[in-house]
């Protein structure tokens, strides 16, 4: 007997993500899912971001890694709530992990929740975490063709943050080409250029976040 179906493979994940999205909407929380390859600067960008906030800001971070709580320790220095999600092998965060790690947090007046995904340009793409927006961080040492090599990741992103622009004099990287490649896979993508080392572009990044609050 053949039964036709249209069941989403990740419908359990999508169901949890939908409840998270509703919770963030109700609480007025802007939730941002940060995706990049390892070493592109997600944690550095968050350090710069948290470092610029005053203590009254209601912001929290869930940071995912396969092993270690190094990132959570780096980010906890700023005094905002930070929790490490150690996936123990999984190469991405899923909605259930986010839900589990929010447990016990008074998140009803949270303005911003950053979800720092596991460093990986492939697997996190498929998993909705209930976020309002998705940002891909790409550093200029990685090559301009990444949007074409990982179209799914860039296609699902609202924002591309080009990081490490202070290194542009030393690496053959064309800003024009990477912008063109990203817009080919996602014509509506917004693009920011930053350096977490010099601080260049961080004002625009903060403005971008502020626009979503």
């Amino acid at each position: 007997m053949r039964v036709p179906l249209e069941r989403k493979v990740l419908n359990e994940n999508d169901r949890i993500a939908a409840t998270l999205r509703e919770r963030f909407r109700r609480n007025g929380t802007f939730c941002l899912n940060l995706i990049s390859s390892p070493g592109s600067g997600k944690t550095s960008l968050l350090e710069r971001t948290l470092g610029g906030y005053d203590a009254a800001r209601r912001v929290a971070v869930l940071t995912g890694d396969i092993q270690t709580d190094n990132d959570a320790r780096r980010l906890a220095r700023f005094g905002f709530p930070v929790r490490q999600i150690t996936t123990g092998g999984a190469c991405h965060l899923d909605a259930a992990m986010v839900e589990r790690h929010l447990a016990g947090w008074a998140d009803d007046d949270l303005q911003i929740l950053f979800l720092e995904n596991v460093g990986n340009l492939v697997c996190p793409t498929s998993y909705d975490l209930g976020e309002e927006a998705r940002a891909v961080v790409l550093s200029v040492t990685e090559g301009e063709d990444k949007p074409l090599k990982y179209p799914a990741t860039f296609h699902h992103a609202d924002l591309m943050v080009l990081n490490k622009i202070d290194l542009l004099p030393y690496v053959p990287f064309s800003m024009e080409l990477v912008r063109k490649n990203a817009r080919r896979v996602q014509p509506e993508i917004e693009i920011l250029e930053v350096s977490c080392t010099t601080g260049a572009g961080l004002a625009q990044w903060n403005d971008w976040i502020q626009r979503h609050l």
Partner: protein
Amino acid sequence: MSIAASVLDALRAESALHGGARITRAGLRIGELSGVAVDSLRFCLEMLVADTDLAALAFEIECAPWTRRCRACNTVFRVSDARPECAACGSGDTEQAGGDQMELSFLELEEP
């Protein structure tokens, strides 16, 4: 691998909906933009079902192309080489149409 595990969870849930009937064949539709490599998925599925009650299960995986719809001429076209321009009229005003599916498309159940 976790996507393959989700596939098997979904299959078991569907089997339960059909009175626990044994599934002999399952169809999957995987979009080009889903971020899933069909060969890897197949490999993981076969590894996960080996030596289980689903060991005899055959998978039929269909790859759904990445498509966009042209807002000017309404053509739905297959995106090649990541170019967003309409393949029919060349307009750059196009929107996402398909290619991010990751779904079960059919099951074949053993007759009770």
